[in-house]
């Protein structure tokens, strides 16, 4: 039971909360927001591990930075898709997007 574990636990819980949002919410923008929570959770875990674990040489922190950048790109694209889709369908309800139904 060291400090790292507690930080990781927070990260895991935040990850689960985000996952729950992705899986359960119907508004597509909220899904995107929940995804951001999950990414934050991952970042948190990375930074925490980098802080406490020897021999990482700062890679964890660096990865967190990269992830933040990628997340920004992802949000830009994701929301652009959401807006484009909203224009076509006049809805942001995810479960109406079911063209793939078998």
């Amino acid at each position: 039971m060291n400090a790292l574990f507690w930080w990781l636990l927070v990260a895991f819980l935040l990850f689960s909360i985000g996952a729950f949002g992705v899986l359960a919410r119907r508004n597509v923008i909220l899904v995107v927001m929940s995804l951001e929570l999950m990414l934050n959770a991952v970042n948190l875990a990375l930074v925490a591990t980098a802080n406490f674990r020897a021999g990482a040489e700062g890679a964890g922190v660096l990865f967190a930075l990269f992830i933040i950048v990628i997340a920004a790109a992802e949000v830009a694209i994701g929301l652009a898709i959401v807006i484009a889709n909203y224009r076509n369908r006049r809805t942001v309800q995810v479960d109406t997007y079911d063209e793939l139904k078998g």
């Binding site: 996952a19 992705v22 899986l23 359960a24 899904v31 995810v94 479960d95 997007y97 079911d98 063209e99 793939l100 139904k101 078998g102």
Partner: protein
């Protein structure tokens, strides 16, 4: 071997020239049109000369066996068979028969097949046949013999079905080949067995092993019986004889060459060749004799009511071959080959004569529509009479001497039952051959007026071969078979059959008595035939009415064809149909398609899972990931 270089060349040419003739004629024959026969006939003429040379060599070196392994044929692992030729006195006799009759039949065919649209094809096939037949008799191993054996079968198939636009002809060709294949089944297994126990298929090696007693008695019997199965097919013995009468669908020269004089003798030749094996198995010899005598009487019985002139001769051939087997089975090896020798000439002659008759009648083969041809086609009549008398065994024609030795041998061997049956067969033979001659040449012509107008003697290309063949048919016995049991042929063949069957012939003793008995039987038979078919022509119908079952059984060939159509053929076809309809389509493919269907159903069942909503997929993914992490943690965790 010193001094055999010429023979080596001769043997090589004997097999190669007909093959060359076949290839050339097949490729260019069509362009040569009416001249298509020149090349193949030339090839066969040269080959006949060479085969006479081969005979002469054997004549001069009767104690030697010439063996020449041309090249390695098959070498695979422990299995080794060369492509080799062998010449000894037995081969010499066969060379003479095949060479001369083959050559004569080729010349005869020039006239007989004149105008046929498959003219070149016919000569090509005949050449191929000569090739295969020569390979058969020259082979020095069972396997090469088998090659010739199947080769003549192929030619037989091609030539029987020569007029393939007739259903009956194509049917008969197929039947001949398949029935022979059943015999070959036995032959193949016999070869396997021989190789397994002796490690070779070359005659010299196999027989040396047999002499030394390397082969156990039981195995010897098996080998002999399996070889015999092969011989039964090729030599048309019961129960595999059914193809030969049908084979008469082929052109008549084919019947003469293949189905009388040469190919059908191959079975007899093979059994005689395997003599060192057969002498060691009492059982096999008995079976050979039993099959032979049964076939002989059966065929005679059927022949008596047949109306097709060629069918009568075909059944007589089966009967004669039966006699040969009787001879082999009784241990009278030389007599068997002697009969084969003589039979080749007189039966070939009979067939060619019947061809000439048919030619004269404009294609008619039914004897009920003939009659009175004696004066209209005299050459054919006289030559056919010679052939028939030789066939029935009238003194002094060739058939008499040979057949008498066989019948006598059965008596001397103590097989009295066989002897009695053989005598009955001789009687029947005399009756049906007499019937044939009398119905065809005596009495009033029963043909249509139109046909009658066209009856003419055949051209010289056909009659000259008849005369040529009539000479040995008449005189051969006097030349080689006299005195009985001690003629030249005995001395000639003794080196091959080196356990000679020493029967002392005394004219004023057992031998003379037997000879007289068989001669009397023949004369009685001929008189009965004369009485029935010349004097009291209504009597045969009355007899048929009196014993209708016997008459009909004979007319319908003892119903064997009908039985075969049901038992082996029908059952096989039915079973095959069942395999196809039920096993293949329903069971095996049913399982295959059933599996496919099952997966389809499973897929249908799982379709609702595919909601198309991203979040449900995400849930599966996430859940799956959790499970995987848990499993990995559990498996690889501490």
């Amino acid at each position: 071997m010193e001094g055999t270089a010429y023979l080596q060349i001769a043997v090589a040419l004997i097999t190669l020239l007909p093959l060359l003739g076949f290839i050339v004629t097949l490729l260019f024959g069509k362009r040569m049109g009416r001249q298509a026969h020149i090349f193949p006939v030339a090839m066969v003429t040269v080959t006949a000369a060479l085969s006479i040379y081969g005979f002469v060599w054997a004549f001069g070196h009767r104690d030697e066996t010439f063996v020449w392994n041309a090249f390695d044929w098959i070498t695979a692992g422990q299995f080794h068979v060369p492509w080799g030729y062998q010449v000894d006195t037995l081969t010499g006799i066969m060379l003479l028969v095949v060479g001369i009759i083959g050559c004569v039949v080729h010349y005869y065919s020039i006239g007989y097949m004149h105008g046929d649209e498959g003219y070149y094809r016919f000569f090509a096939y005949l050449n191929l046949f000569m090739f295969a037949m020569f390979v058969l008799i020259l082979a020095d191993s069972y396997l090469l013999l088998f090659l010739g054996w199947e080769g003549v079968g192929l030619c037989s198939y091609l030539l029987i079905a020569f007029w393939f636009r007739k259903k009956s002809a194509s049917q008969a060709g197929k039947k001949a080949f398949i029935v022979n294949r059943i015999g070959d089944f036995g032959f193949t297994l016999a070869m396997f067995l021989i190789f397994v126990v002796t490690g070779t298929l070359e005659f010299t090696g196999v027989f040396a092993a047999a002499e030394k007693g390397d082969i156990s008695a039981g195995i010897t019997t098996w080998i002999c019986l399996l070889l015999l199965t092969g011989a039964l097919g090729k030599s048309a013995q019961f129960p595999l004889h059914v193809w030969l009468p049908d084979a008469m669908e082929g052109p008549t020269p084919v019947s003469a060459l293949i189905h009388a004089a040469t190919m059908v003798n191959a079975g007899v030749y093979m059994v005689a060749r395997s003599y060192p094996l057969f002498v060691q198995s009492e059982t096999a010899m008995t079976v050979v004799m039993a099959v032979g005598i049964f076939t002989a009487i059966l065929a005679s019985y059927i022949a008596i009511t047949q109306n097709d002139i060629k069918k009568v001769i075909a059944y007589s051939t089966i009967s004669s071959l039966g006699f040969m087997f009787v001879a082999l089975g009784a241990g009278a090896w030389v007599a068997g080959i002697f009969y084969l020798f003589a039979h080749g000439f007189f039966k070939g002659l009979l067939f060619l004569c019947s061809g000439s008759v048919i030619h004269a009648m404009g294609g008619e083969q039914d004897m009920r529509k003939m009659g009175g041809l004696r004066t209209k086609i005299p050459v054919t009549f006289w030559t056919m009479l010679v052939g028939a008398l030789s066939m029935v065994g009238m003194i002094p024609f060739a058939g008499f001497w040979a057949k008498d030795e066989i019948v006598g041998a059965t008596f001397i061997a103590g097989e009295y039952v066989v002897w009695v049956v053989a005598m009955v067969t001789v009687l029947l033979t005399a009756i049906y051959m007499g019937r044939l001659i009398f119905m065809t040449f005596w009495g009033e012509t029963r043909a249509d007026a139109e046909v009658q107008a066209h009856i003419h003697e055949s051209p010289p290309s056909m009659t000259v071969p008849l005369v040529i063949l009539a000479v040995p048919a008449a005189l051969l016995g006097l030349v080689v078979g006299l005195p009985p049991e001690g003629g030249w042929i005995h001395g000639f063949l003794e080196p091959v059959f080196y356990h000679p069957h020493h029967a002392e012939f005394r004219l004023l003793g057992e031998g003379g008595a037997l000879m007289l008995a068989s001669l009397l039987t023949v004369i009685v038979g001929l008189l009965i035939a004369w009485w029935l078919y010349v004097r009291q022509t209504e009597v045969p119908a009355r007899i048929a009415d009196r014993v209708p079952w016997a008459y009909r059984a004979s007319l319908n060939k003892v119903y064997l064809d009908d039985i075969y159509a049901v038992v082996p053929v029908g059952a096989t076809l039915g079973f095959a149909q069942w395999l196809w309809d039920v096993v293949d389509v329903k069971v095996i493919d049913g399982v295959v398609n059933g599996v496919a269907w099952l997966w389809g159903r499973i897929g249908d069942g799982l379709r609702p899972i595919q909601t198309g909503r991203v979040q449900s997929y995400a849930l599966y993914m996430f859940g799956g990931m959790v499970v995987l992490v848990a499993v990995f943690a559990w498996v690889w965790g501490s």
